[in-house]
Point group: C2
Chain length 327, copies 2
């Protein structure tokens, strides 16, 4: 993969966020010329500490994907766009549906329009989400499953994903989408549950405090961020991906309590309490979810490599060392 | 049905348009108090002549669904909202995707937010479209078919539809959506193909000119507007509809040339030429489409009653009389 990205120009929206910054670390290692776009909106995932160690080897451009002028400039001359900027919080999308629409829907359209006008030869990989499926009819969930999003965020992400597929199909701007499941690892947001509940668990464990598990029996799958980065890079390189959507999954399927137990085991200490699912979330509870990720395995040769025990160990070690940069 | 709508307060967005105005005529006959909202944007379907004969029995409010202030006022005190305003043109959605987004996506969210804040007891019926399905995998297309829209319009309508379902499910604002297929009848736009190609055919026949059929072998189904109005009223009245989407279909499945032949037969004169599908539309050609509409038949008891021959006869007679009001 080294030869593929050496000296290639790469733009990452949401580049100071969790996945974007991990991708940037990898791409810098592969010799790419990386530009990170991030708004650093405090409620979102951007954190300057995420590029600690590579800050002089990337170009950081603070701007918001809603700012169509800066984006129209920044896409020019790029070989790849990893389009990861997004509003990810369910709660925020319900409290302010218009902000979610502007970021996850309108800004995606303006990014694509910018590429169509200024750089139609770019290749785009869009970070989509399992949220699009809503409550599964069947498990594991493959890409042929109906999309029935249960929050504003899921609806807007669905539109954002489809704009990418459309611009690929109609205008030949090569684009594809990965539907991420729970992704975790170093550099994730842990201040609150805006990225995933697991962020909060990790923070509390690192702080020596008990954490809460809501429900507990729900089954989920988890992708370690390095595996997600592998998938993003493969999707960028492979033309078979163009116009396609791919689920990412994990190595195992775990109940939330099984995950919590594993986290305690890895930490060697700590405790958690199981609570009833809050009423206001019950209406949009999706029950169990785990992905059928055979499509990306078969077509792009991706596979997750980092098991949950190893992933949690690395992640916890990261936050035990760098906790103060994430509070 | 008379007793159900007598003295009920009904708001229709897109009320001066094709379907909205036909619905208004029916509702006035049923004794409802009807308010029509329409922007009268010249490229869209609104036409004041459409309320000829009932203009003193409805209240007409010229405003755009993008104007959240007027909408927030107008939804108050209404029992039913038939939410029919939309940008319907494929071509316009590709030429100006942001205008399409503002109307079909953002305005829908603001209409729902207005209802949530000011009138959560309202019942909403949303006019969605078969465009959401894109190119069918199988025929006839039922509601379990994946949504894979092939233009910006379809993507934004998909989001708009799902906001309605979400607000039903999460906030209890009763809403449902009808996925309309080709709808035709008196009061449709015939100036151009922005509503359907059939509008242009009808105009040219009424003007004694030949018309063009693109492709010709594609199969389609057609709903006469009175049947669509029946479905809208049933969906409004029946609580089983809440949170659901329903396809509408027609009485027959016809190729475009079969429809063209039928139109000539009904007109007793005229001619048409078959042309190759233009290259720029070929990329988004969906091939054959016809709906499986058993869900609405079984759950709401709807059925189309007006066959194509009868529907075309009535429609052509309307335009032969009123042509100048539609040019």
């Amino acid at each position: 993969m080294e030869i593929c990205f050496a000296n290639r120009r790469v733009l990452i929206t949401g580049g100071l966020g969790f996945i974007g910054s991990n991708l940037a670390h990898r791409l810098v290692g592969l010799g790419a010329e990386v530009v990170l776009v991030d708004s650093l909106v405090p409620e979102y995932g951007g954190n300057l500490f995420n590029v600690e160690g590579i800050q002089n080897r990337v170009r950081i451009n603070i701007s918001d994907v809603r700012d169509e002028h800066s984006i129209a400039y920044l896409v020019q001359g790029q070989d790849y766009l990893f389009n990861l900027a997004g509003q990810t919080s369910h709660m925020d999308s319900m409290a302010d549906p218009f902000a979610d629409l502007e970021i996850n829907c309108r800004a995606q359209l303006s990014i694509l329009e910018a590429c169509r006008k200024h750089n139609p030869g770019i290749k785009i990989v869009f970070a989509s989400t399992r949220q699009l499926y809503g409550k599964p009819d069947r498990l594991p969930v493959d890409e042929a499953h109906l999309l029935r999003p249960v929050d504003v965020n899921g609806i807007n992400k669905m539109a954002g994903e489809w704009y990418h597929i459309l611009y690929n199909n109609v205008y030949g701007i090569r684009a594809c989408a990965l539907r991420l499941t729970n992704t975790y690892g170093p550099r994730m947001r842990i201040k609150d549950a805006r990225q995933t509940f697991l962020g909060v668990w990790l923070r509390l464990i690192a702080q020596g405090k008990p954490f809460e598990v809501w429900g507990g029996e729900q089954l989920r799958d988890f992708t370690y961020v390095d595996d997600a980065v592998d998938a993003l890079l493969l999707a960028a390189l492979r033309d078979e991906a163009n116009g396609e959507v791919f689920n990412l999954g994990g190595l195992s399927v775990l109940s939330l309590t099984a995950l919590a137990d594993l986290l305690l085991e890895v930490a060697g200490a700590g405790e958690y309490a199981v609570h009833e699912f809050p009423a206001d979330r019950k209406r949009i509870d999706i029950g169990d979810y785990y992905a059928d990720d055979r499509r990306i395995k078969e077509r792009l040769g991706w596979e997750p490599k980092v098991a949950e025990r190893e992933g949690l160990t690395r992640t916890l070690a990261y936050y035990q060392t760098h906790l103060k940069s994430y509070l």
